[in-house]
């Protein structure tokens, strides 16, 4: 069978702000057959989206295709005129973006945007296009397929928008669809539904697809072949089965290794029943003015209690909007709790950080998800780490210098980074600095709020290892908040599952206490596995899915 796509020695250049040209795609060659699903996998900056975009003859602002050919169904997208490319976009090749929420025009109805392709290219009458769209909505198992098109983008949920974007891509009967990280922004339980819908339509319409993702487990469900990319070069191309079972390239091997469950050498429960390090009793946190019933307008956390023993770790898991981050912010005193007690190291804490003593603030540190915004971009690493040393410990310049070097050693960063600014570091390095700043305070407990969510799989694994190592050396305790169950399981002794502001249940992995609550079961079963047959074999109670996924 002839190849639908042939990319030969593709090169893409980007212009940096000093006017220098940098090659970001360094000669990539690959082929895609008719009806074949090929996944591009790699970490952020590997060039996977850039390559996918060149299939449409498009390079984002500041980038330029500088060499090679991109043949799609007999046309070389590199040499075509802009007008000829426009004629192919939407009809032969279509695109499903990472964030459908941003890719839908807020000023037009969904139906108008879904059928716009047929209007631009004059493919069919508007009435026929509408009928086809409704058929696609049904194939993508969207609710109320006949009526959903009349809504505006902000009136439907993220998971639905993502499927509507797929309908928008499929309306022009394309031969090739590019899926650009289409489920990355979704919760796991929603991701299952969306993946199922995508897989069904790809099969039904016999479309070739390029699936761009950083998540090997997701890709394993959809792709026939996998292209592993790193820094603009292909590392390995193989069938999904080969890549998963016998990876040849070291980078592919490290990607797979990051998926292996790592046994957490759990600390034994403390023998002496001394008072716990942190105890939260019936905490309620909310937003907005207090209503007549004595509750805040929006209750984000409803009467949650938890306990952290010395030297042990507590995990809090749940999907977006379940109140887990609000809970952490209330414990840290950033967002004052409406009701409930916080007892830290035997003393009751005020609900707001403003009233806590300096040593209480020092002993309870919080580390945030986005190292980009958690580190002041205008300050050097030295200043960032030096401030808590001066502020809490009153260290002079000399003592600070010594301590900053020690801290950098602890988080395994070279001492030379101290003169750099956060913008010059990679995501993983920034997160290490973010963590080192909390260590600088000499805390007893560190609240980790989604600290690995913005990191790539391999980097996440390394950060988790670092956290465990520091715990052994410094006798810290962590409260680890994440939506990623595998990360939490790797480091925590107890796990709390939260849903809609409430604690559903508490699980202790060490005691092999499996999740009992239906929501916990649903959540745990929705985490993609590396096994390519996982999605097809997965059976979830549709009633539960409807109850717990209001998306």
């Amino acid at each position: 069978m002839a190849n639908l796509v042939e990319i030969r020695n593709l090169k893409v250049e980007a212009t940096t702000d000093s006017g220098r040209r940098v090659e970001i795609i360094k000669g990539v060659s690959l082929t895609i057959a008719e009806g074949e699903s090929v996944a591009f996998i790699g970490e952020s900056g590997s060039g996977k989206t850039t390559i996918a975009m060149t299939l449409m003859g498009y390079a984002r602002a500041g980038c330029r295709i500088s060499g090679g050919d991109v043949w799609v169904d007999g046309d070389n997208m590199v040499t075509l005129s802009e007008k000829q490319r426009a004629a192919i976009r939407g009809t032969k090749i279509a695109y499903v973006p990472q964030s459908a929420a941003a890719a839908f025009n807020p000023a037009a109805t969904i139906m108008d945007q879904v059928i716009e392709v047929t209007r631009i290219h004059g493919l069919m009458s508007p009435a026929a296009a509408r009928r086809k769209a409704i058929e696609l909505f049904r194939a993508l198992s969207l609710p109320e397929p006949a009526a959903i098109g009349n809504r505006y983008p902000h009136q439907v949920s993220g998971g639905q928008l993502q499927r509507l974007a797929a309908a928008m891509a499929l309306i022009g009967n394309p031969k090739l669809v590019i899926f650009d990280e289409p489920t990355t922004a979704l919760d796991v339980t929603t991701q299952v539904e969306v993946l199922r819908a995508f897989k069904a339509v790809i099969k039904q319409y016999r479309i070739a697809c390029v699936y761009v993702s950083h998540d090997l487990a997701v890709v394993a469900q959809i792709a026939d072949r996998i292209v592993v990319l790193k820094s603009g070069q292909t590392q390995e191309i193989g069938t999904t089965h080969d890549i998963l079972t016998q990876p040849r390239h070291p980078y592919t091997q490290s990607l797979l290794a990051a998926f292996k469950p790592k046994p957490h050498s759990r600390t034994a429960a403390p023998e002496s029943p001394s008072h716990p390090l942190l105890e939260v009793d019936a905490m309620t946190v909310g937003y907005g003015p207090v209503q007549r019933d004595g509750q805040p307008l929006i209750v984000a956390v409803r009467s949650v209690s938890l306990k952290v023993e010395r030297g042990r770790n507590l995990g809090i898991v749940g999907e977006s909007g379940c109140g887990k981050s609000t809970l952490a912010r209330a414990i840290a005193g950033i967002h004052p709790a409406h009701a409930g007690d916080i007892i830290f190291d035997g003393h009751e804490l005020w609900n707001t950080a403003r009233k806590r003593t300096r040593s209480q603030l020092r002993e309870l540190q919080i580390v945030f998800q986005h190292a980009d915004t958690a580190l002041n971009p205008a300050k050097s690493i030295e200043d960032i780490l030096g401030r808590p040393l001066a502020f809490y410990h009153g260290m002079d310049r000399k003592a600070r210098d010594v301590r900053i070097n020690a801290l950098l050693d602890m988080v395994h960063l070279p001492r030379t980074v101290r003169h750099r600014h956060p913008g010059e570091l990679s995501g993983g390095e920034k997160q290490r600095i973010n963590f080192a700043r909390a260590l600088a305070a000499d805390p007893k407990l560190i609240l980790c709020d989604e600290i690995t969510s913005a990191l790539d799989t391999v980097v996440t694994a390394a950060v988790i290892e670092l956290l465990k190592e520091l715990q052994r050396e410094l006798g810290l305790s962590y409260v680890f908040i994440s939506h990623d169950l595998s990360v939490v399981e790797a480091i925590c002794d107890e796990i709390i599952v939260m849903y809609r502001g409430q604690k559903m249940e508490e699980i202790t992995p060490a005691e092999r206490k499996a999740p009992q609550h239906p929501y916990s079961k649903l959540l745990f079963s929705s985490v993609p596995r590396l096994d390519p047959s996982w999605l097809d074999a997965l059976r979830q109670d549709p009633d539960q899915v409807r109850d717990y996924c209001q998306r």
Binding site: S18, G19, A353, A374, L375, N376, R437
Partner: protein, 283 residues
């Protein structure tokens, strides 16, 4: 193209400047030097009548012609730079320092302080600037200190609004939360965490506001309500020589051109500010 013209100077300092920005900077520098050394540069005393003809044309000796009384225009323009640049610079400094400090404080403190301050300053902002100038001049008369204070009062709300909107964005960053729960004071939060992040735009805004103030000052002087005789800024020079307009006398055209060169070059400089090169690995 512009990169190649100035690339060498630029990249060595870690900044990239383009040609247009450089020209803007040169003109601004030129007027600043004139304003500083005007007294030593003028060929004639500003009040001296040197030409028997009024609205005389340009010719050697009287390079820019003579004004409505036959005084040397070149000397009057050079001295006028002093008033136009000096008053505007003083006013913009007061306005921006006050506005930016208040704006950052409001963004960090939030709550009632922020609402009250914002409401009052927004209300002040809804008095058209020329009108405000007219009212104050009507009430207390026009003198240079009054002009400086009035001009700065008019532009405090703008500087406040601008810096507040920037600071509000910075304030949502997690490093602000980190600093706040470390127990840092307001002064530290403003000075050490926010200011370094907004200093670039704030300086650009200062330039823009400088242009507004030059325009307003010239406008007031043109109406006879700004700088009063015997002193004269460029706006006042246009006013007193307006009679020469029907003959296209240089005395009325030159001060207009002087104002335009100053304001246009400041604008060009702001639009083409040297940009810091983040790509450090550049050769």
């Amino acid at each position: 193209m512009t990169k190649r013209a100035t690339g060498l100077i630029g990249s060595r300092l870690g900044y990239r400047i383009n040609l247009v920005g450089l020209i803007g900077f040169a003109v601004v520098l030129f007027w600043a030097v004139i304003a500083l050394f005007a007294a030593d540069l003028i060929p004639y005393s500003v009040g001296e009548i040197v030409d028997t003809d009024y609205f005389g044309p340009m010719h050697p000796g009287l390079w820019l012609g003579s004004d409505y009384l036959g005084r040397d225009m070149l000397s009057r323009i050079l001295m006028g730079a002093r008033y136009t640049v000096g008053i505007s610079l003083a006013a913009v400094t007061i306005a921006c320092v006050t506005g930016v400090v208040l704006g950052m404080a409001a963004a960090v403190v939030r709550g009632v302080v922020d609402s009250v301050l914002s409401r009052i300053l927004d209300a002040m902002n809804s008095i058209p600037s020329k009108l405000f100038g007219l009212m104050v001049v009507a009430a207390v008369g026009s003198s240079i200190p009054v002009l400086i204070l009035t001009l700065s009062a008019i532009y405090i709300p703008g500087a406040y609004r601008f810096s507040r909107s920037l600071a509000v964005n910075i304030n949502t960053m997690e490093f602000m939360t980190v600093a706040r729960i470390r127990g840092e004071s307001l002064a530290y939060l403003i000075g050490a965490e926010i200011l370094p992040n907004i200093i670039g735009p704030v300086l650009a805004d200062l330039g823009l506001r400088f242009v507004f103030i030059v325009l307003l000052l010239s406008g007031l002087s043109f109406l006879g309500l700004g700088v009063q005789p015997p002193y004269a800024d460029w706006g006042a020079l246009v006013r007193e020589n307006l009679g020469g307009l029907p003959f296209g006398a240089p005395a009325v055209i030159v001060p207009s051109i002087a104002i335009a060169t100053l304001t246009i070059s400041v604008n060009l400089l702001i639009d083409n500010l040297p940009r810091k090169i983040r790509d450090r690995s550049a050769p």
